[in-house]
Symmetry: C2
């Protein structure tokens, strides 16, 4: 009558064996972790969220604790769309927006809607591993498009598209993070954004723009989003509250043509994003808390970025190079050719420091060995200084 | 520079045109709605959740507002597994449990893990439309297995399996709600549960047991779950906090073999279920609030069930029959042959009453026309009495 230890049934092996168990993430076990793009918990607006929770549960519990609309909470959609329209001079309507459990779910939903096994997806490279894995789960063929200091390399993209066309392949989708890219931190220039849209029109593919870091701009204005520059409805744009409010609420969004979005809702498979956490974010925003909070985040993350760049200058060997991000969470490090970041990670962990080896950011699992990603979002400035100093020591020993 | 009204791009039509826009749900526009299995907001434990939110945000905000584990919050998994083990004499370990955004997400994830387009899924019929749609999105072929007053008809299932075997088809999965089934309210007997497990072993398929209503038992004990009766790890069991705590938190769970569950986590695509709402449910449970709350729910829903059955006896014509659920949210009504419930719905709405026509509960979209589902969970007892009276009038007119 009791199910003690269900034995492994061989039937499963045929069906799920090729699904990789998901590695445990979190803060990492190292004392100083640069491994994940985790927001700084010291910056969570705990008191304001507690106040918002009280308001929601007193005044909106009938709806906040009930099933909600598949598209998302109308109040959150309205406040979000108004913010985007005001900040960027857009005219998005509420029916062009869907609430998701972070940008990651939006990416997965777009993949499931568009991709059949064998379809080709163009991915900026290096890329956020979560996006690569989402497209892999759709059975897609991933084709790398390089990123350099000016962002997505549209010259190389044009050549790739020509080659693909010559072999009779039409890519369905291109994935890119144009602002403060994960993992490199670079921003794609306006000219390249326009060149990308021209190529998308010429070769007829859809662009998925992941704009998770737009609000964390440390220096001046950004170019308009691809979504804003797109005249013909071929750009879907996703964003998230994970970096600017709280990742634990699992709130993100997807913008797209109003003819397309309603058809994506059922693919979320989650019965609608939590009305409760959506009400929290909407109430928090309507109280005028979000903009001053983002200003505090920008000041804090800018300082961490500055501390990391200064420490890299001080402690890293001359043969190592890195990007200089103007916002976001990440610095991308390039080691001398032939150096494997995975080997360094073992030594770094012995020193109590953690980072992400670059390999997981490449569609080709054998590529990217001489790169690593450093997230400056989580550690304190003192930890950043100390962690980079220790990493510098590891590099000095390894590069001899 | 601004994206005003993105025009519909023809490329989308080829890829998402076959995805049905999701119909808007919610309370329904009728004054008295029997249409959806919505919990009664008057029963939401608002104050206790507000207290829990205060505790979580004061004491756990570093983790509750941060990214969490893909498997789900360990504290919630522990309290959930302990509750199931205690109540049912099981020995589930935490690594045999995953937190999901309701049971619906668990069903979708299992479908995506197991099903390739063209695969055959056995579905109890009538069934919850959400499950049917999840399997349809996987491209599965749905084969109906009838449900009668004793639950899933395992005699008919045996014949169906023989027929399928003769044509060389091996079903991968069977979906069933054995307790207080949605939409019929019936419960599968112990003998039939054992017969089902025998057939699953003989024909080698996996069972997905949706146990969303187990805690809402109005009369006496239930047979053990299929998961508990299964000796060889071929049953996955899902459940939800949506009916016993708050649907708006989007919390459910999936139990299964420890060798299988880790491989399903990445398929959730949501970056892990919200740590914040998970901490709320765990804190609420650890405070000892859940069991007395469920006792209050059972008393209230039992009374609504009683009021509905008495009103059906009083107001419905003799040619109409219905099920007598011993728990859950639903009564299933059978009209005389040739009557179309969709036609009645128009007349009912004019009387301010809403229900779910049975058709959406059948794999064959042309079947089930002479059935309808009545949910007694949302309206007050007075509304139930009044609504059934009005529906009885509509039936009297229609059936003449």
């Amino acid at each position: 009558m009791t199910a003690l230890e269900p034995t492994f049934h061989p039937r499963w092996a045929r069906t799920v064996a090729d699904l990789e168990p998901r590695p445990a993430t979190g803060g990492g076990r190292a004392a100083i972790s640069f491994a994940y793009g985790l927001p700084d918990p010291a910056l969570f607006p705990t008191e304001a969220l507690n106040a918002a929770a009280g308001i929601v549960l007193r005044e909106q519990s009938d709806r906040a604790l009930q099933y909600g609309a598949g598209q998302g909470l109308p109040q959150l959609i309205n406040v979000l769309v108004e913010r985007l329209n005001r900040a960027e001079g857009l005219a998005i309507r509420p029916d062009g927006c869907m609430i998701t459990a972070g940008a990651g779910q939006a990416i997965a939903v777009v993949g499931r809607a568009l991709l059949d096994p064998g379809d080709t997806v163009l991915v900026e490279t290096p890329a956020w591993p979560g996006a690569l894995n989402a497209f892999r789960r759709c059975g897609a063929r991933l084709v790398a498009v390089p990123v350099d200091a000016a962002g997505l390399d549209t010259g190389a993209l044009g050549q790739t598209l020509e080659t693909l066309a010559a072999e009779g392949t039409q890519p369905k989708l291109l994935y890119t993070v144009p602002n403060f890219q994960n993992p490199t931190g670079v921003t794609t220039t306006l000219a390249r954004r326009q060149a990308l849209l021209d190529l998308a029109r010429r070769y007829d593919f859809v662009i998925l723009e992941d704009d998770a870091y737009r609000d964390l701009a440390f220096e001046g204005a950004l170019p308009p989003s691809l979504f804003a520059l797109d005249p013909d409805g071929r750009v879907l744009r996703t964003g998230t509250y994970s970096k600017i409010l709280a990742a634990g609420l699992r709130l993100g969004w997807l913008l797209g043509p109003r003819e397309v979005l309603p058809r994506l809702i059922a693919l979320k498979d989650d019965g609608g994003t939590s009305p409760f956490t959506s009400y929290l974010a909407a109430t928090y925003s309507l109280a005028g808390e979000l903009e001053p909070h983002i200003a505090r985040l920008v000041a804090s993350y800018r300082r961490k970025r500055d501390v990391m760049l200064a420490a890299l200058d001080r402690y890293f060997p001359r043969s190592v190079t890195w990007t200089v991000p103007a916002g976001g969470f990440f610095v991308w490090v390039t080691l001398p050719p032939g150096t494997d970041a995975a080997d360094l990670l073992r030594a770094a962990r012995e020193e109590g420091v953690d980072f992400l080896p670059g390999r997981s950011c490449f569609p080709d699992p054998q590529a990217g060995t001489s790169h690593l990603r450093l997230a400056f979002s989580l550690p304190t400035p003192d930890q950043i200084e100390e962690g980079i100093k220790r990493l510098g020591g590891v590099l000095d020993s390894a590069l001899g």
